[in-house]
């Protein structure tokens, strides 16, 4: 049931109708649960076991962690007068260690499943080639739909319960809905329990504005997906299947096209998901904020796949950066002779955060897939961020020395272009067959420029001039919408056009629908392309 199929439209319409007509408002959420599991099973019922396992184990562990915490609090209260400080501390440590063991068990089990299913063959292949044998067999493993997304979401919940940030969900079925909510299962966003859960369970009534904005967001998503992303993907697949047959000009062109396609595809999927949820009365987390307007790679990751970034920040970055090991290393460096120098003082100060960033991006890379190129993708981003933190004083000195007005348009534009180039280099690791391929593609994009030949090649990679015309128009529309959203600090599409006169709003919707009908990649003769992030 792809997002672009008639069956999906019927499914969403039916769910919306049943949801709002459901007689018991208290149990309205059960409609969403049933719909989510129907959707999941429809997409592949054979692997439903895995999401059930994650749901049940996380729910049980959450309950247990909370009961341990509550029992501990009760015990402490009961012995308020009896226990001295040392006894209390010992008891707390014992409780914490119990909770930690529980947390570790759940994390190992669930991340273990993810790692095994997603990375086993990658690791086995690597080890086999390292040892020069076939010691580890290569298995035919099927990846359950959305496993990366629901594992991260459920483990985020578990850590939050462990930290005492949220209360554990008492109802298994309600928790199952939080994990399986159908609009988010394919490609996120990775929602925090505190942000999403309450909305899922509370009753909702149909609201005109929510419907309008939701539908407009869905429409905007379909425009990006069907008109832009699914059109561009033909050329990208053609060239990346055998990049050595093309000039560097074409490779560079296709990498730029990929930047457009990936953004259009991923943000479209999220918009459709958020639009559906919005109609149902649920506000899902924003996952994109015009990432190509970023002025630094740090900012880019705060605007691109925001919920993954937040997850990484909360559950990896902070624990790593604030760990005794990292803080201690920073302190030790500060006390050393090097730490007494100006540069050393700065480096020892930023060491924990910069190394933690590198680790985070290594994980981000691995999250994207089991391949050396994704590791390189993560390392590339991590290293750039690490360097930007470490070399910050140097850059600031240059800016001062060159009298650069940091808020001038020219400087901001330079920063955006610079950031985009860094991001684009990272994309080469995405589209290349492997790490060596990515490096070769980058090299060729720089040294193998043949404008004339590239021009003729560009017309032989599955797209006609008319397709490029559509892509150009699509790009301009996205650009205009993004600029307006950026200026008005708005995330929705409906909210943006609702600021205009009524006639303009409806004309806009009419044009959008007609553009999708005429320019959309759909119907017989087309294989609808899966969302790129569905594979992750």
């Amino acid at each position: 049931m792809s997002y672009t199929s008639i069956v999906f439209f019927i499914f969403v319409a039916a769910v919306t109708l049943i949801y709002f007509l459901f007689p018991s408002k208290k149990y309205q959420w059960t409609v969403l649960l049933a719909a989510s599991y129907f959707f999941y099973c429809y997409m592949g019922y054979r692997l439903v076991f895995f999401i059930l396992l994650t749901t049940v184990t996380t729910w049980l562990a959450g309950m247990k962690a909370e009961s341990v915490r509550e029992a501990s609090a009760a015990e402490l209260k009961a012995h308020k007068g009896d226990w001295d400080r040392a006894a209390k501390k010992a008891f707390k440590q014992k409780t914490q260690s119990k909770q930690r063991r529980l947390l570790a068990a759940v994390l190992i089990l669930n991340f273990g499943i993810l790692v095994f299913l997603k990375y086993y063959n990658f690791m086995a292949g690597g080890l086999n080639s390292l040892l020069g044998s076939q010691a580890l067999p290569i298995l035919k493993l099927l990846l359950p739909l959305g496993i990366s997304f629901y594992t991260f979401q459920s483990m985020g919940y578990m850590i939050d319960v462990f930290r005492g940030n949220i209360s554990a969900e008492k109802n298994l079925f309600r928790f199952a809905l939080f994990i399986s909510f159908f609009p988010q299962i394919i490609q996120g966003p990775i929602s925090a329990y505190s942000q999403l859960a309450a909305q899922l369970y509370e009753p909702h009534r149909p609201e005109y504005l929510r419907f309008k904005y939701g539908l407009e967001l869905i429409l905007w998503g379909y425009f990006k997906k069907l008109v832009i992303a699914d059109r561009a993907v033909t050329a990208i697949n053609t060239v990346t299947a055998d990049y050595s047959a093309y000039t560097g000009t074409t490779i560079l062109f296709v990498s730029l096209l990929y930047a457009l396609q990936l953004y259009a595809d991923f943000s479209a999927g999220i918009d459709i998901s958020r639009g559906i949820a919005q109609m149902l009365g649920i506000d899902m987390a924003v996952n994109f904020r015009r990432p190509y307007f970023s002025r630094s790679i740090n900012e880019y990751w705060r605007r691109w796949h925001i919920t993954l970034g937040v997850w990484m920040k909360n559950y990896i970055f902070y624990p790593v950066a604030m760990s005794g090991l990292f803080l201690g290393a920073g302190k030790r460096m500060k006390k050393s002779a090097f730490g007494q120098t100006k540069a050393g003082a700065h480096i020892s100060k930023v060491l924990p955060t910069s190394v933690a960033s590198l680790i985070v991006f290594l994980v981000v890379g691995l999250w994207h897939g089991a391949n050396g190129k994704y590791v390189a993708f993560g390392l590339w981003n991590g290293l750039i961020i690490m360097l930007s933190i470490v070399l910050k004083p140097v850059f600031e000195n240059w800016i001062t020395a060159l009298h650069i007005r940091t808020e001038s348009f020219g400087w901001r534009l330079f920063q955006m272009v610079r950031t985009f180039i860094i991001v684009l280099i990272g994309y080469y690791f995405d589209i290349a067959p492997d790490f060596a391929g990515a490096v070769d593609m980058i090299r060729r994009s720089i040294v193998d420029q043949h404008l004339g030949l590239g021009k003729s090649e560009i017309l032989s990679i599955g797209l006609k001039w008319s397709d490029y015309f559509v892509l150009a128009v699509g790009l301009i529309i996205i650009w205009i919408v993004s600029i307006r959203q950026e200026k008005l600090k708005l995330d929705g599409f409906g909210e943006l056009i609702s600021r205009r006169r009524t006639v303009f709003q409806w004309l806009c919707l009419f044009c959008m629908i007609m553009l999708i009908i005429i320019w959309g990649i759909y119907g017989p003769g087309y294989d609808p392309a899966d969302f790129v992030y569905m594979q992750f």
Binding site: I6, T502, I518, G523, P524, G525
Partner: protein, 387 residues
């Protein structure tokens, strides 16, 4: 909630939906569409005054490249129309006739039999054929069953909705709008006029005899070959249906062909089998392959290719066939309204103009002729399209 707000919102939504439906409908009807004169031909048929046709001509491309209804009217006084399209298979004949009889009740039905001689099943259940029939004729629910029959023969059939809403199939051809322009303008002009001037004819200027022709004896052309099982079943269904139509005279014909190989000869022989089966049911059969001299056809100069007559061949053929129909069935009895008669008179006059222009083009003279409207476009465009 305020009733005024509810009404206002409902009106806005309805207006948007209506605008989308209207715009899509217009684009589907006149814009992005399978570009082929079949659409114009069918449109022309449905523009004919109800029950005003004396003769209905059915078949494949042989018919619309070898029969001019306007000429037949001018010479013999009966009204006729070809409901034909390229590669029209026997599997669709019954449905086509059933559909046509909702609008017309002709005295004579003429069936060109080539569509019953296609030897491969994928020709009998060809997607392009069912698409032409479903998309170019008014939709009715009884066509769904037929559609299912056809798509059941496809390995990867298109979804049913794409036949009912062809825009979902052809929307990606928006960039061919320039090529579709003339077809679209012709149809718009025809709809504004209210009738078809050319009655669905289609012609080429260039000859395309790309294969070496062989000589075939009359004995070979007169012998019979068995029909494939599917063809036989479909033909029987059609023959079974004919008595229910109330059509007085049914004439099965084999149009003149040229021969380039054994397959062509086998088709001619299968045509004789169709003719024999039709005659067993009491219908007439005329093999015009055997009447080339009588028609006055030049085996080289009057053909575009081995299956189709050119403009001069069409003129001779229409004269011969019209005369045959009129003499044998006295077809010209229609009680036409004043308006319809005027239109048919105009069509008869216009076909003369068409032939004049065709001759000029054949001589390489692309001259402006006074009063020439769609003919010029039709020939030019079709010539270009067939290159």
């Amino acid at each position: 909630m305020n009733m005024k707000i509810i009404v206002s919102r409902a009106l806005k939504i309805l207006s948007l939906l209506l605008a989308v439906v209207l715009a899509s409908g217009l684009i589907q009807a006149y814009g992005i569409r399978n570009f082929h004169p079949n659409l114009t031909r069918f449109d022309g048929f449905y523009l004919e005054e109800k029950n005003s046709l004396d003769v209905l001509v059915m078949g494949a491309s042989e018919v619309y490249e070898g029969y001019a209804a306007g000429q037949a009217y001018g010479e013999f006084g009966f009204t006729s129309y070809p409901i034909a399209f390229d590669s029209n298979p026997v599997s669709l004949w019954k449905a086509e006739l059933k559909d046509a009889l909702k609008y017309q009740h002709p005295k004579v039905l003429l069936v060109e039999v080539n569509g019953a001689t296609y030897t491969r099943e994928e020709e009998i259940y060809k997607d392009a054929s069912i698409r032409t029939f479903i998309e170019d004729t008014p939709f009715s629910l009884d066509k769904i069953g037929l559609l299912r029959d056809f798509t059941a023969h496809e390995k990867e059939p298109d979804p049913l909705y794409s036949y009912i809403f062809p825009l979902t199939k052809y929307h990606s051809r928006w960039d061919e709008i320039n090529a579709m322009r003339w077809g679209c303008l012709d149809r718009l002009a025809m709809h504004r006029r209210g009738y078809s001037l050319l009655k669905g004819i289609y012609q080429h200027i260039e000859q395309n005899m790309n294969r070496k022709l062989i000589d075939v004896t009359n004995e070979e052309l007169m012998s019979e070959a068995p029909l494939p099982e599917v063809n036989r079943r479909c033909l029987d269904e059609f023959l079974d249906y004919l008595p229910q139509t109330g059509i007085e005279h049914v004439l099965f014909v084999r149009y003149p062909h040229r021969y380039a190989g054994k397959t062509d000869v086998a088709r001619a022989q299968m045509s004789n089998t169709v003719g024999k089966l039709a005659m067993e049911r009491g219908y007439d059969f005329l093999n015009m392959d055997l009447c080339m001299d009588e028609i006055g056809l030049d085996p080289v100069a009057d053909f575009n290719n081995k299956e189709h007559l050119n403009g001069t061949g069409m003129k001779k053929m229409t004269h011969f066939l019209g005369n045959y129909i009129q003499e044998k069935y006295q077809a010209g009895e229609s009680q036409l309204s004043e308006r319809a008669r005027k239109n048919w008179d105009e069509s008869a006059r216009y076909i003369d103009l068409f032939y004049t222009y065709y001759d000029l083009l054949q001589e390489g003279l692309d001259t402006d002729l006074k009063g020439l409207k769609e003919t010029r476009k039709v020939i030019n465009i079709l010539t270009k399209y067939n290159q």
